[in-house]
């Protein structure tokens, strides 16, 4: 093969020029779409409906002391319950006892496959029917925590199991060689390492839970139990103005963006440590 063949002039544009032209067209299209949306929107109308200072001012401080607080509360309860149940399920999935593995697998498949809304309805309606006279402790907060946790446990179980399996086999052997029982080795050696591995995905799970806690409105909540979404929706209805929805949205971002940033930082740090 001679270099002449490679350097031979193309008919029309060379591939490199064609690629540059294509990229240029892409940018032009992108800017055109953004401009069109910005120019075509009715800004005065939007401002009046979505960013009314008067309406926004009235939301404070309740949207923080009630809405944000309850969102954080429901999310926290769901996370703690989901983490505990997820850890138990993960250990069951790794258990040498087959019935445990079957149960854990079935649970994970069922609860990963169901819409969260159905789980909320099941908790609010099904639990009182199944155990007559009993109530989920903690009222709405307890129900919300249970519903969120039941679903989160299924996802977290898989995450935790992957984390445990990512710890090299030699770690368990070294721990057992030192005379640790299986349970002791799990608690002191394997699980601490597994959790380091899975902190970033667990943080993402927390972000998801934070958003999913909006489904609490299907449990039927009192004024004091409203979380951000319900709070925003109610006030938007009362005021005939959508600003509360926007403010509620910003409040969510106040929770989720720092969490996402934290997850990313932890991930970077873990990669830097080389483990």
């Amino acid at each position: 093969m001679t270099t002449g063949e490679v350097a031979a002039p193309h008919r029309g544009l060379s591939p490199r020029r064609r690629r540059r032209l294509f990229l240029g067209l892409q940018y032009v299209l992108f800017v055109a779409i953004v401009l069109a949306v910005v120019l075509l929107a009715d800004w005065p109308q939007l401002r009046a409906n979505f960013a009314s200072w008067d309406v926004a001012e009235q939301l404070f401080p309740d949207i923080l002391t009630v809405g944000l607080r309850n969102t954080a509360l429901y999310t926290g309860l769901g996370f703690v319950f989901g983490l505990a149940a997820g850890l138990v399920l993960a250990l069951m999935r790794l258990s040498p006892a087959a019935p445990y593995r079957w149960f854990a697998t079935a649970y994970i498949e069922v609860f990963r496959g169901l819409p969260l809304l159905l789980i909320f309805i099941f908790v609010s309606v099904g639990v009182p029917l199944a155990f007559p006279g009993s109530n989920v402790p903690g009222g709405v907060a307890g129900q919300a925590g249970l519903a969120l946790g039941l679903a989160a446990a299924a996802y977290m179980a898989e995450t935790i199991r992957a984390g445990i399996e990512a710890v090299p086999r030699g770690q368990l052997e070294a721990a057992r060689s030192l005379g640790m029982s299986y349970g002791r080795a799990m608690r002191s050696i394997i699980i601490p390492q597994a959790f380091r591995i899975i902190i970033p995905p667990l943080t993402n799970q927390l972000v998801l839970l934070c958003k999913d806690s909006s489904l609490v409105l299907f449990l039927g909540v009192t004024l004091e139990q409203r979380e951000l979404t319900k709070f925003g929706r109610d006030l938007a209805g009362q005021q005939g103005n959508t600003t509360p929805i926007i403010v509620a949205g910003i409040c969510y971002l106040l929770l989720t963006v720092p969490l996402s940033l934290l997850a990313r930082r932890l991930e970077v740090r873990r990669r830097r440590e080389g483990r």
């Binding site: 070294a174 640790m180 029982s181 390492q193 380091r196 483990r275």
Partner: protein, 261 residues
């Protein structure tokens, strides 16, 4: 303490249809250093792992310091406390410092208090020459340092027997000496040691006895001067010539080397 530290009788181990150990009999006296050599796949590591039951033997018995390890009634965790094990890949706990690695089993298994565990840890880490690395995490240590922490971790439990599974095979050549030096001192202090190794010079100098294994059986055993320097069996001789002078090996089944180019 005198007498027999490790007593292995007719030990067999199969993985599925593959019989890795085919009837091993081996005794190690208290204070004795026994090196096990042999080609890879000969069952040396499996033999070692059967002694502290990381592998469950298919049949046969193993007794360590008078306790039958293979007895299903025995508390295996209690037995393992008396058997130190050093792995080829160190297996330090990466989430703990050197000091944490050496104290954790003392505290959780032996139930020693924090002060006592740390005092013991400092002693054994000094013994392996790492007093200045107490606060270092394994990732910050060289392979040789990691392996010495691993030895210290076992020593802190006060074992009666130490098992070494190719302790220097994962090390850069210039770091091997530090680890062998620590092992030599242990031997001089009278520790009972069963060592799987490819380090023939170590075996020759330190071992009281060398065992050559091939294909799941003990082919030959005796003092190093006999097994390494004057082997009786052809298999031992063939293995040793390959280990002692790897550069002399020929590509198997290729005939003489002169024909190529």
């Amino acid at each position: 303490m005198s007498g027999t530290a490790i007593e292995i009788t007719d030990l067999r181990k199969s993985f599925g249809a593959n019989e890795v150990l085919r009837g091993i009999d081996l005794d190690v006296r208290a204070g004795e250093v026994v090196c096990v050599i042999g080609p890879s796949g000969s069952g040396k590591s499996t033999l070692l792992r059967c002694v502290n039951l990381l592998e469950e033997p298919s049949s046969g018995t193993v007794r360590v310091a008078g306790v039958e390890v293979t007895d299903p009634e025995v508390d295996i965790d209690a037995v393992r406390r008396r058997i130190g094990m050093v792995f080829q890949s160190f297996n330090l706990f990466p989430h703990l410092t050197a000091l944490g690695n050496v104290t954790i089993a003392q505290r959780k298994v032996l139930r020693r208090g924090k002060a006592e565990a740390e005092r013991t840890a400092r002693e054994v880490l000094e013994r392996v020459g790492l007093s200045d690395k107490l606060a270092s995490y394994p990732a910050r240590l060289s392979g040789g340092q990691q392996q010495r922490v691993a030895i210290a971790r076992s020593l802190a439990m006060g074992p009666e027997v130490m098992l070494f599974d190719e302790p220097t095979s994962a090390l850069d050549p210039e770091l091997v000496g530090d680890v062998l030096g620590v092992m030599r001192e242990l031997a001089e202090d009278g520790m009972t040691m069963l060592v799987v190794t490819h380090e023939m010079s170590f075996a020759r100098e330190v071992a009281d006895r060398v065992v050559f294994m091939d294909d799941g059986v003990v082919v030959e055993e005796g003092p190093p001067s006999q097994v390494i320097d004057a082997p009786r069996h052809d298999r031992t001789r063939a293995f040793l010539s390959r280990v002692l002078d790897p550069a002399a090996a020929r590509v198997p089944g290729k005939g003489s080397l002169g024909t190529s180019t």
